[in-house]
């Protein structure tokens, strides 16, 4: 199936007045958010602030009770969800790999299902392995035989396989030890800039947000408190909570 070309005029993702309630518990209050192309947008906030729910709405994994989700100008619904997801790469904590498939098969699963040329698939696989610096031998192993960092690299390869314009990452480095985490942070940022992807990243870690984000969206209790660059947030906090949240998490603030 051909990928839908994204019209230059439409933002890659628009959440238009979306809201979600689970069994009387409000997860997301009516919220509107537009993600700009080729930028890294970080959703940050304490547990239960609704950041993951917003991310999953973009994929159609959660259907909003009200409002619309627009992917490159096209409204997401039950009909087009499967097709639109193929133009979105999704990475979760610990990679979300299928344990019964080897690393390589995890990466190529969708491409094989779509009947892509095997030679193209093989070439793309080694290209991606080089890109995320995964040893070729690891591709034949099963997820349980890989280290946490390797699993995460495979997860990223899987998300990049069909070269989607949009990447969604939900706490992608959450399960890693500090050393691996730092290493991957650096690599990922380089990768995103190099590939010029539109990225939406969910994290609860302010250091990570500061590292990646040129656009930070701070959430609390299902609503956006403030959004902008880190500098803007620090210079003109919308309310004391913004400064408190950033200070509490971040050991060294930029000057």
């Amino acid at each position: 199936m051909p990928q839908t070309p994204i019209p230059a005029s439409s933002p890659p993702v628009v959440l238009d007045n979306v809201a979600k309630t689970y069994d009387g518990q409000v997860a997301v209050r009516p919220t509107t958010l537009s993600v700009e192309a080729h930028r890294i947008c970080v959703l940050i906030g304490p547990s239960g602030c609704g950041k993951s729910t917003l991310l999953r709405m973009i994929l159609g994994l959660v259907r909003p009770d009200q409002g619309r989700v627009l992917i490159a100008g096209e409204e997401l619904d039950a009909e087009n969800a499967v097709r639109l997801r193929r133009a979105i790469g999704y990475v979760v904590q610990d990679g979300g790999l299928f344990p019964h498939l080897t690393a390589g098969d995890n990466v190529t699963l969708l491409a094989r299902y779509l009947g892509r040329d095997p030679a193209w698939i093989a070439a793309r696989l080694s290209e991606l392995a080089a890109l995320v610096r995964l040893p070729a031998a690891a591709l034949a192993r099963y997820p349980l035989q890989l280290s946490g960092g390797q699993r995460q690299r495979v997860g990223i390869m899987r998300a990049l396989m069909l070269d989607p314009p949009l990447l969604l990452l939900d706490e992608p480095l959450g399960a890693l030890d500090p050393v691996t985490r730092f290493e991957l942070q650096e690599e990922l940022k380089q990768l995103f800039l190099e590939l010029r992807k539109t990225v939406v990243l969910v994290t609860h870690d302010m250091n990570e947000a500061a590292h990646f984000g040129d656009h930070i969206v701070l959430l609390r209790a299902g609503a956006i408190v403030q959004q902008g660059s880190l500098e803007e947030l620090l210079a003109r906090p919308a309310e004391p909570y913004v400064r408190d949240f950033i200070r509490a998490q971040r050991s060294t603030l930029p000057q």
Binding site: R56, L59, L61, V82, R83, L84, R85, R86, I88, Y90, V92, G96, L97, F98, P99, H100, L101, T102, L109, L110, Y113, P135, A137, A138, A140, R141, Y142, P143, L144, Q145, R158
Partner: protein
């Protein structure tokens, strides 16, 4: 599961349900699961053969009365030896026994059945004493017991408790005070021989009457209902096979109670084969129960007797055809149950209820519904019993997949069908396979009931062994069944290693590549 599988299954089912080929020229004679019925069935079968009008096939040791009645009505068997009392009370549900065979036939004609050819003996309840003691006291009839106060009665619980049992008998014969002791029937003969009781209840043609030298007391007030041995047959049999019918009529009143006792004893105590007992009877001899002369076979000879491979083949056919059906039906039902929680209770509940249906009741129902005995009802019964483990394990295997994995598959952009095939079923495969294994192992055991409906298998030996109290024969059926169950267990272990992804193995994850 490869693409050819449905074809193989289709061919298998066509084989099972196709009408038996030359049905016209074969008269099928049934018998029930006890020695006397086997012997009479064999005598009738030989008689039909000798008439030369049609082939005869003896469906030995079929289930209970209800199964035979269903088989007879559907035409799966044409006749079998039965007792007038059983026909009146169990088959027709009458309160009182009809006066005579004509009255019984009036009741049977709406069913398209008839009775005839009274064989000459009556197999009913009786009271018996040791011959020597009865002779010493001069007791010949039940009414004579009234003159001897202080006799000790050792009666079975069933006889004591039946409405038409001991209390009614006592009233009918006007016994005054009597000493009655409840006794297991199997122990009663020993108790009588040891002189610990004087009178026991028995069946009039019981082989042990000869062995323990008992005197059966004459029921001079005709208290016990008549259980006369007769042939129960499909009403059109005499017209369709007139020559055979004349031959069968020659059996009328040919077998006395004492001859029947001797034949039962020859089978049970002398281990004489039924076929020889029947041949001897028809050529005017009663097979002797001489122990040295007939000599039991060694256990190994019994185990690997000529029918071993036939029974093994039949047993395998029963187990695997029913298992294949259960997989084809059970896995989709399990998927449905996992998908729709509202349907789950209903599906698992229904599969659970199926398992609680007594096998003989289920078989009787299936024979009536299908109009035939043999492999088809047995396979369907086994299929129904095998459903629950497969449905339950498929459902739980799918429901236990962690939600993040399920979401990863969805987020990837795979449609629902592909997610099921490529992700969910492989992840649940281990649980599903273990459900199939459980069903397979259970089926090996349950398939022994197939002998009740003439579908063969190791159950044939178990049923025959139980009927004639031959423990070696019983074991020769039970041991191979146990071995088959173990083999299936082992085969599924091997299948597990082939079918289940190494990535799902818990501890020793295989590493085919060198570490890096």
């Amino acid at each position: 599961m490869n693409a050819r599988f449905p074809w193989v299954l289709g061919a298998l089912l066509t084989g099972l349900f196709a009408p038996p080929a030359p049905a016209q020229d074969t008269i099928r004679i049934g018998s029930k699961r006890f020695t006397e019925s086997y012997i009479l069935g064999e005598i009738v079968t030989r008689t039909v053969e000798r008439a030369g009008e049609a082939r005869a096939s003896h469906q030995r040791g079929l289930g209970n009365t209800a199964i035979l009645f269903a088989a007879l009505k559907s035409g799966a068997v044409h006749m079998y030896p039965e007792y007038t009392g059983t026909i009146a009370f169990e088959l027709l549900g009458l309160k009182r026994a009809p006066e005579d065979i004509e009255a019984l036939n009036r009741e049977l004609s709406p069913h398209g059945l008839a009775v005839g050819v009274p064989l000459g003996f009556n197999n009913t309840y009786a009271l018996a004493m040791a011959e020597t003691r009865a002779a010493a006291l001069g007791i010949r009839r039940i009414s004579d017991l009234a003159q001897h106060a202080g006799l000790r009665f050792g009666l079975s619980q069933e006889f004591i408790n039946r409405k038409d049992g001991w209390q009614a008998l006592r009233a009918a014969y006007g016994f005054a005070d009597t000493q009655v002791q409840g006794l297991d029937h199997g122990l009663a003969y020993e108790a009588l021989a040891a002189g610990r009781v004087d009178v026991i209840d028995a069946y009039t043609t019981d082989a042990k009457i000869a062995r323990y030298r008992l005197r059966v007391l004459e029921d001079d007030r005709r208290f016990f209902p008549a259980y006369e041995a007769v042939l129960l047959y499909r009403a059109d049999l005499p017209q369709r096979y007139p020559r055979t019918w004349r031959a069968l009529q020659s059996l009328e009143r040919r077998i006395t109670a004492s001859q029947m006792i001797s034949m039962n004893a020859a089978a049970e105590l002398g281990a004489v084969p039924f076929s020889r007992i029947a041949d001897d009877f028809l050529s005017g001899r009663i097979a002797a129960a001489g122990p040295g002369e007939s000599g039991r076979r060694s256990f190994l000879e019994t185990l690997f007797a000529g029918d071993f491979w036939r029974l093994t083949g039949e047993h395998l056919l029963l187990v695997f055809s029913s298992l294949a059906l259960s997989v084809v039906v059970g896995v989709p039902l399990g998927i449905l149950a996992a998908r729709a929680p509202r349907a789950r209770h209903f599906i698992l509940g229904a599969a659970g209820v199926l398992q609680t249906i007594p096998s003989l009741a289920l078989l009787a129902f299936l024979i009536a519904a299908l109009g035939r005995i043999g492999t088809a009802p047995a396979v369907i019964a086994l299929f129904l019993y095998a459903l629950l483990p497969i449905v339950r394990n498929t459902c739980s295997g799918l429901a236990d997949i962690p939600a993040p994995l399920r979401e990863s598959a969805e987020a990837l952009g795979l449609p629902a069908g592909a997610r099921l095939r490529l992700i969910e079923l492989p992840l649940a495969a281990r649980s599903i396979l273990s459900g199939i294994k459980t069903s397979g192992v259970i089926n090996v055991g349950t398939a022994t009931i197939a002998a009740f409906v003439g579908a063969g298998g190791y159950g044939e030996r178990i049923v025959a062994g139980l009927a004639v109290n031959d423990h070696a024969l019983l074991l020769a059926g039970a041991l191979p069944a146990a071995a088959m169950a173990l083999a299936i267990e082992g085969a599924f272990g091997a299948l597990d290693r082939v079918l289940i992804s190494p990535g799902l193995r818990e501890p020793g994850v295989t590493s085919r590549e060198e570490g890096a």
